[in-house]
Symmetry: C2
Subunit: 190 residues, 2 copies
Amino acid sequence: MKELEERIRRDGQVLAGGILKVDSFVNHQVDAALMDNCGREFARRFAHLGATKVLTAEISGIAPALTTALHLGIPVVYARKTKPITMPDQVYLTLAPSHTKGRMVELIISPEYLSHGERVLIIDDFLASGATILGLVRLAEAAGAQVIGIGTLIEKTFEGGRAALEPLGLPVESLTAIVSMDQDRITFAG
Amino acid sequence: MKELEERIRRDGQVLAGGILKVDSFVNHQVDAALMDNCGREFARRFAHLGATKVLTAEISGIAPALTTALHLGIPVVYARKTKPITMPDQVYLTLAPSHTKGRMVELIISPEYLSHGERVLIIDDFLASGATILGLVRLAEAAGAQVIGIGTLIEKTFEGGRAALEPLGLPVESLTAIVSMDQDRITFAG
């Protein structure tokens, strides 16, 4: 998606440790209009698959997942990383390594909002190693729901996420794909 | 706002300890269309005040703040509760008590995204004691920005938040106001 690629080129910052900082438009400050356009694009790409729910992980997946859900006309569920007191005792819980936190985090979903027979579209900000997304897939499967597709704003093709997701046999759509990056230059696929 | 009030009446659950659970449409599962309507309504109510940025706190403020920002055509910044590695060493940080966590939490904003001269509209899910919103006000003031209004989805009038915000002399708009609630009944103002 050209608009997102140009924004990353202009405002993305490559930090030490292979971190791409997009805090000025995705992760801390959010460009609402850009996120709306990304949601519209995800909705267009996945419209034919009949999703009944968008699934993401807090925190930075919420914005693109919400706008995607809006354009598909379905609800979004975000997996929590800590269990709030409003959640029942029995939950779906899995562990996934966090790239930016350097440790394992919990991903938790209440059985109230994900159930057997649902068709789940997973949306997240980054596809890096794929570990968070695989965690979301496990939660959906535990709930008896069927994952029908995966969409991410930014794929880092050199971190292996697409290969990790390949055995699922699902459509994986990234709005932008970065093939290499260093502090001077971000190179996109295509 | 009638649509939100009816949804709370239908799907809200009053838990022990004065907690109103709205996890099926605001806090864990999000009704994207409803949040969009709430954002449109906030935008309508605050349009004349010339906000340049929406400010909220992760996690549950993000959805209504994003849709409000979308309808106002401005960005949203969400205060983080833990400092990500992408954030600079020097930040604006304040402490606020969390109603649902039963302890103090940090609210952190990077100086990169909130600065002198900005006109800030604060949006959050609940107005209860007002403590989180007062924390956001302190962060905005520390950045030299001017808060121009405060909007929340659900005000619990019996928890004193409006009185706590009154000295600020700002417009405070709640889309719904609950005057009393117990496990059998939620009573709205008006």
